[in-house]
């Protein structure tokens, strides 16, 4: 346990100092951290899922607080929580199925009056939860299977409330299996995060045609792989890269593209409007995708999206599933943004007297604003390409619902209540 705490603290410091670049790296490291948290977590015989959830939440809350703008952290925490719930659910349903088989022969701990009813219902419940394991509850399943609402609370809390069950042999194997399954699933998640580029890039040929002119801003590994994949398939096209002040990641991307043999033109950010009339498609990476279909992107892309809209150029966002955030944004330009150091824009030497907050005159004459992100509203986005395929912005809420359980949307409050 202490070594996990050390890991967590280490990661927290990294997050706070913004040492981790990019949401993919953050997501992967978060998932790895949570995996070790889970593996180190001692699981009680009762309520294993609850214990795991609590442990993950406790860590998750800290991680999210360390960098609330890095939504990938929260996404991964929620995904892991969802994984725990799902694994628990599938185990329980399996157990119930087994239980139902034995229910005919011997009596249950529960009151006998309900027993008959329960066994009748449980078949439906098993079917419903089996379906749920594949798909999270949708409005349709909720409506058509009323019994599910009876069955689910029962099953999910089954680990906790039935002391008698835990004594049985298959229960103990179940606890071990739960943790094992969860870790397996987290490993899969990490795998997914690592390979999302490839899955997105596979779709490149479907979207890039011959002699296409593509504009992008800043640098994104996903975009790089996407473009390269199209190049690999013998498509020839040109890429305009806006340099993406103040970090000038566009230079990096341009260099990468050039070394991979793509025709690349590097432009200043201000020339985006001038160039976009000759561009066929804007392809950008995202920092996070919100549930309403809006995107948090590197600064400057809102301008690009507006210009693209003006010239009816498709604005395509590439996003791995770890970037899908189940939250709906409120005032994201300010609340989901962070201001970086003014030194990226101005030399401190020149303006030091004007920037001085300690001079006592009140507010200084000069402010330097250097935001890191932009918010692109869903109406400006033409298409999302995720590792599961292309989607409309209006569909994102549904896609996101696949990955998260509704209970975890607010990580912090639940934890606060728990404490």
């Amino acid at each position: 346990m202490p070594d996990v705490q050390a890991l967590v603290n280490d990661f927290l410091i990294k997050l706070k100092k913004r040492k981790i670049e990019g949401s993919q790296a953050t997501a992967r490291q978060t998932a790895e951290l949570l995996r070790s948290v889970i593996s180190q977590q001692r699981v009680p015989y009762t309520n294993q899922a609850g214990a795991l959830i609590d442990a993950v939440r406790a860590v998750g809350e800290q991680l999210i607080a360390a960098n609330p703008v890095e939504l990938a952290v929260g996404n991964i925490v929620r995904r892991v929580l969802h994984i725990i719930r799902e694994e628990d659910l599938s185990l329980t349903t399996a157990a119930i199925a087994g239980l139902n088989l034995s229910a005919a022969s011997d009596g249950d701990d529960d009151d006998d009056g309900e027993r008959d009813e329960h066994t009748v219902l449980s078949a439906a419940a098993v079917a419903a939860s089996a379906r749920n394991a594949l798909r999270p509850p949708s409005l349709q399943t909720l409506l058509e299977d009323m019994p599910e609402s009876v069955a689910i609370p029962h099953t999910s809390s089954s680990g906790g409330d039935s002391e008698g069950k835990s004594k049985s042999a298959d229960k103990s194997s179940r606890t071990r299996r739960l943790k094992h399954d969860v870790i397996e699933a987290v490993n899969e998640l990490i795998q997914d995060i690592n390979t999302c580029h490839e899955q997105i890039a596979e779709q490149a040929v479907e979207h890039i045609h011959q002699n296409e002119v593509i504009l992008t801003l800043g640098s994104s590994k996903t975009v790089l792989e996407f473009l390269y994949a199209a190049k690999e398939k013998k498509r020839s096209f040109r890429v305009f890269v806006a340099e993406g002040a103040p970090r000038y990641q566009g230079h990096l991307l341009a260099k990468e593209l050039v070394t991979r043999g793509l025709h690349t033109t590097l432009i200043t950010d201000s020339a985006v409007f001038a160039i976009i009339s000759r561009v066929n498609m804007v392809i950008v990476g995202a920092h996070a995708v919100m549930a309403n279909g809006g995107v948090i992107v590197p600064v400057g892309l809102n301008m690009v999206a507006l210009a693209a809209q003006k010239h009816a150029v498709p604005f395509v966002v590439l996003a791995g599933s770890h970037k899908l955030c189940p939250l709906y944004p409120h005032n994201p330009e300010v609340l989901l943004n962070e201001l970086r150091s003014p030194s990226e824009l101005l030399d401190f030497g020149e303006f030091s007297d004007c920037l001085d907050f300690g001079s006592g005159i009140g507010s200084p004459l000069l402010h330097v604003v250097n935001p890191a992100f932009d918010y692109v509203p869903p109406k400006l986005v033409s298409l999302f390409i995720t590792d599961t395929g292309g989607h409309n912005p209006s569909y994102m809420y549904r896609l996101i619902a696949d990955y998260y359980s509704a209970d975890d949307l607010v990580v912090r409050r639940r934890v606060a209540l728990g404490n």
Partner: protein, 631 residues
């Protein structure tokens, strides 16, 4: 004829040209290459044009000694030997040049008045009889003196000139070339008919010799008709001529190999083309800066034809020491002023033509340093116009003084005074508590901000900047130095900062006649985001920068800056991703200088004529330019 209609009837000049010149078949006319219609000059305009000499007297009260050398006459001067223009350049006329705005206006009025005179018909008959009789043009000249009957030789001269003018006037709309031919023919026949009218011939000869030999008319009244005719021309022809000019002459397209070759041979400075040119911008010149500089410096003592002042300004352009269209324009004009001061006309050349050529060579030098901005183009047009309109009677010293004062006047009126007016207008749009956003370092906007601050208005300024020039930092320095509360950010953060902005003030390099604002690259982005956030966009632009060209995108005409500044980021040595790969064949660096902001994004253009919507720009270009800008 209503002179205002003249520019609209396009076929008019061609009709007359055809009627007048097709008939003498013996003369092979190389001039008018395309005759779309062949009809006779009995068209009403010709009637109008020929205001009769006899009727001229009655008109004298309204007459103001005309700007004879107005562009109509002038422009042939530039192209063709000037001797063919027997212009009685009176010093009185020259004195009125400064008022020529008014005189042109009146001239139009006079012309309109003269059109109603019956004498015009008479003349017209004479004119129209010419082709019918199959005589050369001079026959008209010879027919006419009957009406006037000038006795004194001077008067004869005068007459002659007036007639030749009226002759010319008939052909005002004809190709100048054709006119020339006709006059040559007239000269020839005049010589042939020497015996008949020796006085007239001598007059013609005198007039042929040079403008100087022609004495100023002894009586204004006598040739007032001619003046009227001239006035007419002044009123009528400039639009015509301007119109031809106004169709912007095709710019040099740098993807045209043969022309580029030609241009290179002419070039003072050897320029090596940048290696990796962007495919989309093949039509724009792009040279390597480094070689240009060393080349220029080494050639300092060899560059014989370039005046040192011009050379200095050229270098300043090249190094980017002078930027901003106003500053560049003023620097150029002042350099030309210096050059004109030191100019002396070579023998056997006329000042007007030689100086125009000189200025042209300076200009091509400056263009080699950096392509002209539109505002500079306008200023050049003004200057060339002034040179062309110089009365031939002026001594060289006087002419130079006139030109220099003209340049001063242009700088003062069109730039400095215009800025003051703009500031006065724009300040009314700033109120307490405003957050004003500006992009780059527009000089006019800076003046507005400083003035508003002086007035004690409480506001905050957001300075948005962009690479590679980072001019905003200079503006920021100056504003903060004056104690204005500022926020500084870069163009990418525009969407973030726009939430708090209440007004956007932008500068412009030019405003094109479809309302497009042609300005520093990135202006379009700022205006677009402001428009998306429903923030009014005010563009401060002096009217001399307006241009009748239209443009829809930022690609067809633009300027390419030094591509190398893109790969190196000033002050950020940590970013050197591109260090090794700038030579790669696949990498192109594009450094656009300007972009075109669509007029939809512009709420208002603040100019010296007041605050107008972008849709009014063509109106200003059309209606005000002639009277106020170019004369």
């Amino acid at each position: 004829m209503d002179p205002r209609r003249a520019p609209r009837t396009v076929s008019d000049p061609k009709v007359r040209k055809v009627g007048f010149f097709t008939d003498p078949p013996d003369r092979s006319l190389p001039g008018p290459p395309n005759h779309p219609i062949s009809s006779f000059p009995t068209s009403p305009p010709s009637t109008v044009d020929n205001s009769p000499p006899s009727a001229g007297n009655s008109l004298s009260p309204v007459m103001i000694p005309p700007p004879r050398h107005s562009s109509s006459i002038l422009s042939p001067l530039r192209r063709d030997p000037p001797e063919f223009f027997p212009l009685p350049a009176s010093p009185t006329a020259s004195t009125t040049f400064s008022d020529d705005v008014a005189s042109t206006m009146k001239g139009r009025g006079v012309a309109a008045a003269s059109s109603s005179l019956p004498g015009g018909l008479l003349f017209d008959i004479a004119a129209s009889s010419v082709p019918a009789s199959g005589l050369t043009t001079v026959s008209v000249v010879n027919n006419l003196p009957i009406e006037k009957g000038g006795g004194v030789a001077v008067e004869m001269q005068d007459d002659q000139s007036s007639r030749s003018k009226s002759l010319k006037e008939k052909t005002t709309k004809a190709e100048r070339r054709a006119l020339q031919e006709a006059q040559r023919a007239a000269k020839a026949t005049a010589k042939a008919e020497d015996g008949k009218t020796p006085a007239a011939a001598s007059g013609a000869a005198a007039s042929v010799k040079s403008g100087k030999s022609v004495k100023p008319p002894p009586s204004q009244k006598n040739d007032s008709a001619a003046l009227a005719a001239l006035e007419k021309k002044a009123g009528d022809r400039p639009p015509e001529k301007d119109r031809k000019k106004e169709v912007p002459q095709p710019r040099m397209q740098f993807d045209d190999k043969s022309r580029v070759e030609k241009a290179k041979r002419r070039a003072v400075v050897k320029q090596t083309e940048a290696r990796n040119r962007v495919e989309l911008f093949r039509h724009l010149p792009q040279y390597e800066r480094g070689t240009q500089r060393t080349e220029l410096q080494s050639k300092f003592f060899e560059l014989d034809p370039v005046h040192p002042a011009v050379y200095k300004v050229g270098l300043q352009y090249l190094y980017g020491d002078i930027c901003g269209s106003n500053a560049r324009c003023i620097a150029m004009l002042q350099a030309f002023q210096e050059a004109i001061k030191d100019y002396s006309t070579p023998s056997e050349k006329t000042l007007a033509r030689d100086l125009t050529a000189k200025i042209g060579s300076y200009l091509s030098f400056l263009i080699e340093c950096r392509p002209l901005s539109i505002s500079m183009g306008n200023a050049i047009r003004f200057l060339k116009n002034r040179i062309a309109k110089l009365p031939l009677t002026l001594s060289e010293l006087e002419a130079k003084a006139t030109l220099r004062s003209d340049i001063d006047r242009f700088i003062n009126e069109k730039i400095i005074l215009a800025d003051k007016v703009i500031v006065k207008h724009a300040v009314t749009k700033i109120s307490d508590g405003d957050v004003l956003l500006t992009y780059g370092s527009p000089s006019a906007v800076e003046m507005v901000l400083l003035h508003a601050h002086e007035l004690g208005k409480q506001f905050r300024v957001v300075v948005v900047d962009s690479r590679p020039k980072l001019e905003g930092q200079l503006l920021l320095h100056r504003l903060v130095g004056k104690g204005i509360n500022c926020t500084y950010t870069h163009v990418n953060a525009i969407s973030y900062i726009m939430h708090e902005v209440t007004r956007v003030f932008l500068g412009a390099s030019s405003v094109l006649s479809n309302g497009t604002v042609y300005s520093k690259v990135g202006t379009a982005c700022v205006a677009m985001v402001a428009h998306a956030f429903r923030v009014p966009v005010l563009v401060c632009c002096e009217a001399y920068k307006f241009h009748e060209r239209v443009q829809l995108d930022s690609l067809c005409s633009n300027e390419l800056g030094d591509p190398d500044v893109i790969s190196k980021i000033h002050g950020r040595e940590d970013i050197n991703f591109l260090d090794g790969s700038t030579n790669s064949e696949n990498l192109q660096l594009l450094n656009l200088i300007y972009d075109a902001t669509p007029s939809d994004y512009i709420s208002m253009i603040i100019t010296d004529y007041g605050m107008v919507p972008p849709t009014s720009v063509p109106v200003i270009v059309r209606d005000y330019r002639r009277e106020h800008l170019w004369i």
